[in-house]
Symmetry: C2
Subunit: 355 residues, 2 copies
């Protein structure tokens, strides 16, 4: 066997596990973390050795660039436990690839597979008791990178920290999701960083989302900032529209995140004979379809909620309620996708990776 | 005298000053910090008591929201020492107001004047030996706020930290600045956060700026992202164009930061009989003026460099060199503005504030 950096990974185990103090029946998303994290620092053009160690605070200079210039990117993925107690990752190569695309766009260093993928596997191996069996349960994985270099000068940092933290999650029930279609605010510019999973993209959405919440809507469907005529993303998810029996979703672009759930849905739908049309989706055609009754479903797609059905939308002060369907594409595809993730159905695509 | 929160400000002084180890003749911008900082934490809907204490690292949970969702804003301002050893701030009310506008846009709490302005005055009083006399010397002031709440869920934090750090600065000589006019990348979206001094706006510029650097240009003049036909900002400065004897600059908008230097320049120019036309400036008219020889000057305007003359620009692979002027508006206005800041000329506007 060849020695890789990861065979030499330094592991410092926590004295005690917090797991007994965690109420797994009442988890709120992203609030509890496991006993260990993976940390790897970059300096002088090279990544140091990754280290797995107890989850603990960072010591950060007040002038750290992440605080001032927002050089920060992240990923979101999950690990699942099957009936045989084996733990599985879902398309981790996609998250690794996207992380490196985000890194390039934010002028940050790319991270090698040995650290991102192999490091993650090692970390999860150590934390496998935190992955609970049963559909809906998972271990949410948060790889991220921040600029740790000092100095309040607006240029890329020379130091970075890559880190992976883990948070146990249960089925994400989003409740009744009503959305408003954006006609003023927007999340991404042409030639901007919308396609990167950059920290700064998210805080930009908080205020418009708060305004939507005050009007009784849970999320915003973002439109292109130039014309507000094209439907692009739903909150922090990609978005699908079903008109009659065809699914529509926008092509990825500089303004749209290339979601792993989105592309999995497209592949599953196509495999199983559902028509999918990937092309710009206009607000006007969705409004028209809603009026004619041909708009059957809208749903968001992302790692956290998998598929999140939308019950209605508002556009320029008119509210359009969607029909309640018995056999929705949303629930059919969600079932198929989660069955693959939990190893309850054959993984014809080769998406699952055993730890 | 009324008791304000600031009369009770907690002050812990540093055991030793670092000042003797600082080479004031060879300062590089934003790298050295003074002995103390101001810190104030927000929790549960209220700001705690501000504290001045030795400059030291923060202890931050790996799940702190600033790392994941980029809730981070800042300001940039300067303190100047006059010939009588009095220390002056320049239009601090403008920075405070803009900070709070940024806060609202990022769904962060606004900060009261007692903490931002009075706290800053107190901090500078303590650090006044760090403000060196002589035109060009200053103390750069960096107020900032970061989301310190824990949890990887994409919603506004409940905890924040406001902090002010100080860095001694000498005259900023930017050298020969050639710029490229953006025709693909952009810094801000309609309905986005370009008008906020949000950390995420800056990291978004690093990669395109790196590409420009590789082609031999120091900065980018950003254009509107929808059409790339309107000239909006130069790097992290506002931008002015002189055609014949008129100065042109874009109106502030959702995409453009409302710069204090920019508005000071407009006021000084108007007071002194220079025509200023605040209106969208088209790439086409600047190219045409350059070709006809009526384009006399382009300069950036911002706190760090005050005014930064641009020697030429590239647009779609054609390079336009600007004439070398004897009596440029840039140097004339810079002289007037810095004379006000250093108390060498009468401050007819009431912009300077004594510590
Ligand atoms: C802006 C945005 N769009 C879409 C998605 C969906 O991507 P994925 O399916 O890879 O989780 C995410 C992340 O969850 C996101 O942050
Ligand atoms: C994007 C941007 N534009 C313009 C400016 C100029 O603003 P001010 O003159 O207030 O420093 C700054 C800050 O320096 C900036 O970051």
């Amino acid at each position: 066997m060849e020695l890789t950096a990861l065979d030499n990974i330094k592991i410092v185990t926590a004295k005690e596990s917090k797991i007994t103090s965690v109420d797994f029946d009442n988890l709120s998303f992203g609030n509890v973390f496991t006993d260990h994290m993976l940390v790897c620092d970059y300096d002088n053009g090279v990544w140091g050795d990754p280290e797995i160690k107890p989850y603990e605070p960072f010591t950060m200079d007040p002038s750290s660039r992440v605080f001032h210039y927002g050089q920060a990117i992240f990923e979101g993925m999950k690990a699942y436990k099957d009936e045989n107690n084996d733990v599985w990752l879902y398309r981790p190569d996609q998250n690794h690839e996207r992380f490196n695309k985000s890194a390039v766009r934010l002028a940050m260093p790319e991270i090698p597979e040995e650290i991102f993928i192999d490091g993650l596997k090692k970390l999860i191996e150590i934390e496998q008791k935190w992955v609970k069996k049963g559909k809906g349960n998972s271990l949410y994985i948060r790889p991220f990178m921040i600029a740790t270099g000092h100095g309040v000068v607006a240029s890329p940092s020379n130091q970075y920290r890559f880190c992976i933290i883990l948070s146990p999650a249960s089925a994400y029930y989003s409740g009744d999701v009503k959305v408003v279609i954006a006609d003023h605010y927007s999340r991404a510019a042409n030639g901007g960083i919308g396609a990167a999973k950059a920290a700064g993209n998210y805080s930009a959405q908080f205020y418009p989302t708060k305004l939507a919440n005050q009007e009784g809507f849970q999320q915003i469907i973002w439109t292109d900032d130039a014309t507000h005529t094209k439907l692009e993303e739903a909150g922090t998810m990609n978005v699908f529209f079903r008109i009659n029996d065809t699914l529509y979703t926008a092509p990825t672009s500089e303004r749209i995140l290339d979601g792993v759930t989105r592309k999995s849905i497209i592949d599953i739908a196509e495999r199983d004979g559902i028509d999918v049309d990937v092309r710009p989706v206009l607000v006007s055609e969705i409004v028209e379809a809603a009026e004619k009754g041909t708009l059957k479903e809208i749903f968001g797609a992302g790692t956290a909620a998998v598929i999140s059905p939308i019950s209605g939308f508002s556009y320029k002060d008119t509210y359009y309620e969607l029909p309640k369907l018995q056999n929705s594409f949303a629930s059919e595809i969600k079932e198929k996708l989660t069955n693959i993730q939990y190893k309850l159905a054959e993984d014809t695509f080769g998406w699952t990776v055993k730890i």
